[in-house]
Subunit: 215 residues, 2 copies
């Protein structure tokens, strides 16, 4: 369980919120898409990227030359995940809503600098999505690891927020002849597109986590 702070305490619709690490971890594992917020000269920036989780840390990486990466290392960031699960259609505009799973994490983005540690964590990112894949790849070169910055954030100041279920309308509105309900959305995988330069007989990797939405 994380401790709610002034930043993570859910003030509105708090029945949708959770500070439970299992809930937070499950949402982080269900998608690789996140948005990282940081501040440059007092102004907000949000960079979309991919993340993965190991234990109680969330990791992301980027080019060491990237402004987003340089501006977010060693400083306060806010990492947010949003999974849209459906549109909630009600009998009034006001009660339209969305079903979703979201996580917000606050903290200082810490750079992982040890090359062996970096390589292990980056391999774990690939293996999370494609189990066992990293062992078969051409090994990382020292300059590739140098050109890559790996950042992580401990999941201590964090909260989850989830909305599930159908519309909740004003009682009188249930008599209206309006279609109400949920239109679910989810992410799916299409047929893989093999590189035309693949060697003969190579096999498509199996899928790992991060594809949870394909239910």
């Amino acid at each position: 369980m994380t401790q709610p702070t002034d930043r993570t305490r859910l003030r509105r619709t708090h029945e949708r919120g959770s500070y439970d690490k299992a809930d937070i971890h499950a949402i982080l594992d269900a998608t690789s898409q996140c948005a990282v917020g940081y501040v440059i000269d007092g102004k907000p920036y949000v960079t979309p990227t991919l993340h993965w989780r190991e234990g109680n840390h969330v990791y992301w990486h980027g080019s060491s030359a990237s402004r987003a990466i340089r501006a977010s290392k060693g400083v306060e960031v806010c990492l947010t995940v949003q999974i849209l699960d459906g549109y909630v259609l009600a009998r009034s505009g006001f009660h339209h809503s969305a079903n979703y799973r979201a996580v917000m994490i606050f903290g200082t983005a810490e750079e992982v600098t040890d090359p062996a540690e970096k390589e292990a964590r980056l391999n774990r990112f690939i293996d999370g999505l494609w189990p066992g894949r990293s062992a078969g790849l051409r090994p990382a070169q020292a300059q590739e690891l140098k050109a890559t910055t790996l950042l992580r954030l401990e999941i201590t100041e964090a909260s989850a927020k989830v909305r599930r279920g159908g519309p909740v309308d004003d009682e009188a509105d249930y008599a209206l002849p309006i279609w109400a309900g949920v239109v679910p959305v989810r992410q799916v995988i299409d047929a893989p597109e093999a590189d035309p330069r693949n060697q003969e007989g190579v096999a498509l990797p199996a899928r790992g986590i991060g594809f949870e939405q394909e239910r």
Copy 2:
């Protein structure tokens, strides 16, 4: 065409970038999911929400009591959209990548306060997703409009960034017996779940924009 600024100029992989309004609009229209970044006491916050576009403005809304909404109105925000189109698997970890379409918009979030204007814009949000739906709904009440804050951002300081296509490997690595290619992902819609309290014979609304990924 928007003018690149210090914040929107793409420094790396700039061949993936565009300042063309048509490109930016098309990505904003292809999803309703976005993340809004703002600053409180010098620290970054990112709130996931839904947006829509009308002309050269992007709109979003929330409860007037929401901290995220109160903290972002009238101040500098960064609104980001990220659509993940696929995982790009290469023959080295370093050249793994993702196909995506992204937009970043910077500016001051302007509150729309006129009730009639608010109602028209909020109806447009619903009608964008479900054409014609708003006209059949129970009309908005004054206190509902008051409880809703509508924000907008002009699309002037903005950029798009898109990656498409297969992996680009080091020339020597093409000889390796490793599966490489693209694993496409997209968002789809599942069978709608009607509210059990629906009146008999009500019809499911037709779908509008924002579902472009269902190709």
